[in-house]
């Protein structure tokens, strides 16, 4: 179906089902129960899942296939966001021109950075991209203030022209359909939210995922994997690696731009911190945590990190007291003193530990874990790790 083999079609249908049913899947606990803390089915977070999913899918096309580790992809995310907000300021709150422009701007930006950075490989490439991203970040704060509105961040003001607005809505919308509008469904004790913005992002994420599957299985994808394994042989086979890596870089830059444009479309403001190196590092973590070079890995990694960031960071002392209230006071306080360092503002500690554990025991990321579990259950010892990665194109 759609030019995919049977296994990929199955995977794609699985992803479609999960994203479509996400409002149910993310809210497994009744709204008033103590476990409601762990529900992730609110619009804001679900939007972030799919937007960062797009970001990570694109990053994986560069890093997972060619092995070029870019440490500056947040620059494209930020550029996309700024472009989108400018469209809101000048035209209207319709997100279509905003998203188109954000992809184009990020694409052009990545052509320039890629053209220069790809002259080097390995650590030098990483450092060059990092330097460019930090430079963009610093410039967005200072000299580019007329374009970026500096520290305040770029946002839409009442006196902005918005030439095409007319009587259109006052919030971001897709031809009249407002991104923030949410339909709440209450079934018994459970409550589920269906948000327009989430579904809009989800559709684009599915398109992005489909394109990445096609790239993985294409001759282009094969060449990118060849670059990762042996660039010397590739050059002596009559192939020029430079345009291949540049194309991969620009494609992943455009994915980042799309993610940035969507972020601004959900909440029409853009700040320079979106370009900072921590944001670039986050997408690297997502991809490695999920499994670089796998199709589903980056999505899993993005979901995993965003879930922890938003759920673990919300658990505070009073929540912990609620959980452990049944224990004797001394033990309760001791236990809470230990745990509180791992939750709330300390969630980075938990994330760091998990990341270390995964990289040490599952170098292939969560996807490797999933493959091992599946192999254990199917009892097939001959199927080794290569399964979960990319099926050899020679099938």
């Amino acid at each position: 179906m759609l030019g995919l083999n049977k296994k990929d079609t199955g995977l794609f249908i699985f992803v479609i089902c999960v994203t479509a049913l996400a409002p149910f899947i993310m809210n497994p606990f009744p709204a008033d129960s103590a476990m409601a803390q762990f529900n992730a089915g609110y619009p804001d977070l679900m939007q972030r899942f799919v937007i960062f999913g797009i970001f990570a899918i694109g990053f994986n096309i560069l890093f997972g296939l060619t092995g070029y580790l870019s440490f500056g992809h947040a620059a494209f995310l930020g550029a996309g966001s700024y472009a989108a907000v400018w469209m809101f300021k000048l035209l209207s709150y319709n997100i279509v021109p905003a998203i188109i422009l954000s992809v184009i701007v990020a694409g052009l930006f990545s052509v320039i950075i890629g053209f220069i950075s790809l002259r080097r490989s390995g650590i030098y490439f990483s450092i060059l991209t990092l330097a460019f991203a930090q430079m963009s970040f610093a410039m967005a704060y200072s000299v580019l203030t007329p374009l970026t509105n500096g520290e305040t961040g770029l946002q839409v003001y009442n006196d902005d022209p918005q030439w095409l607005k007319g009587n259109g809505p006052d919030a971001t919308h897709f031809f009249g359909l407002e991104m923030r509008s949410t339909f709440d469904l209450d079934i018994g004790a459970w409550s589920f939210s269906f948000n327009v913005g989430y579904y809009f992002c989800a559709v684009l994420m599915l398109v992005a995922f489909y394109l990445s599957m096609r790239i993985f299985r294409s001759p282009f994808g094969l060449m990118l994997r060849a670059i990762k394994t042996n660039q010397t042989r590739l050059n002596y086979t009559g192939l020029n690696s430079r345009p291949y890596t540049l194309a991969a870089f620009v494609i992943s830059g455009m994915y980042a731009g799309l993610a940035g444009g969507l972020m601004a479309s959900m909440d029409p403001l853009a700040g320079a911190e979106r370009m900072q190196w921590t944001a670039s590092g986050e997408v690297v973590l997502m991809t490695i945590l999920g499994g670089a070079g796998t199709l589903l890995g980056p999505l899993l990694g993005a979901g995993f990190i965003k879930y922890f960031e938003n759920i673990f960071s919300k658990i505070n002392e009073s929540v912990l007291h609620g959980w452990f209230g049944f224990l004797p006071d001394g033990i309760e306080n001791g236990l809470i003193w230990v745990i509180e360092h791992f939750v709330g503002s300390g969630w980075h500690l938990t994330l760091g530990l998990l990341f270390m554990l995964i990289v040490i025991f599952l170098p292939g990321g969560l996807m490797e874990g999933a493959t091992r579990i599946r192999d254990r259950f199917s009892g097939d010892k001959n199927k080794k790790d290569t399964e979960g990665k990319y099926a050899p194109a020679g099938e």
Binding site: N235, Y236, T237, G238, L239
Partner: protein
């Protein structure tokens, strides 16, 4: 007139003169061996053919094209393929994918953004790659990951990858270095077969005299950066200059 002509090539690294006024002609359709003691400049010379090094002076002409200043992939696209001392293959990919890549390079040139078609749908490429694997007797290993094979098989695969491009000139840098005797003989057989079937011109750099004398139709002996003798194999064996280069002067 040879297919590869090297005239007055000089190359020095700092104070070391690696090549001095080298002249060499490789005739079309022959196997031409370049031998010489360690440090004679054999590998430097080869690197000047393939674009890895640029000679200080002199000309390198292949089939009417000057090779000076061309990049490795450009030189390959006009018909020069190279086998390395340690097999350079795509070790993380399957054997079949390894052979498909040069087939793509042959068909599409140095760059083609073929991002939305499917590898599985490329029937012409797949058939050619399959035929290539049958030719080198590796079809049963087609789905193996290349890194898991023996060194002899890796060499065989590398050869298949080079041949998939139908090169006009195949350069081999010590194709049997570090191989067991049986693997060496297999390689000799394979090269002889290729020469028989495809009449590809080959330039072989080799240490192993057994290999050189079983294959070469012409031999150039390199010592201290210059070609001291160029002759037919039967005249090389007893040549006094060659013995001098290898064993030192008799005092």
């Amino acid at each position: 007139m040879g297919i590869l002509e090297i005239q007055n090539v000089n190359k020095s690294f700092g104070g070391l003169k690696a090549l001095q006024n080298v002249n060499l002609n490789i005739e079309e359709g022959t196997i031409h061996a370049i031998i010489g003691p360690n440090g004679a400049g054999k590998s430097t010379l080869l690197n000047c053919f393939v674009g890895k090094l640029v000679p200080d002076t002199g000309t390198v002409t292949f089939d009417g094209h000057s090779l000076l200043g061309k990049k490795p992939h450009e030189i390959n696209q006009i018909g020069v393929s190279r086998v390395f001392q340690t097999p350079e293959i795509f070790s993380d990919l399957s054997v079949f994918e390894n052979v498909m890549i040069p087939c793509f390079a042959k068909r599409d040139g140095a760059f083609e953004l073929n991002a939305l078609s499917r590898v599985q749908g490329q029937t012409d490429i797949r058939e050619k790659a399959e035929q290539m694997l049958i030719d080198v007797n590796m079809i049963d290993k087609r789905d193996m990951i290349a890194s898991s094979m023996s060194r002899g098989d890796k060499r065989r695969l590398e050869m298949a990858m080079c041949l998939a491009q139908d090169p006009k000139l195949l350069l081999l840098d010590e194709p049997t270095a570090g191989m067991a005797r049986a693997d060496t003989n297999n390689t000799i057989e394979l090269l002889a077969q290729i020469q028989d079937k495809r009449h590809i011109t080959m330039g072989v750099i080799e240490h192993d005299m057994h290999v050189v004398f079983s294959l070469a139709q012409k031999i150039s002996v390199l010592a201290q950066g210059t070609v001291i003798v160029e002759d037919l194999p039967e005249n090389i064996k007893g040549h006094p200059k060659v013995q001098e280069a290898y064993l030192g002067t008799a005092h």
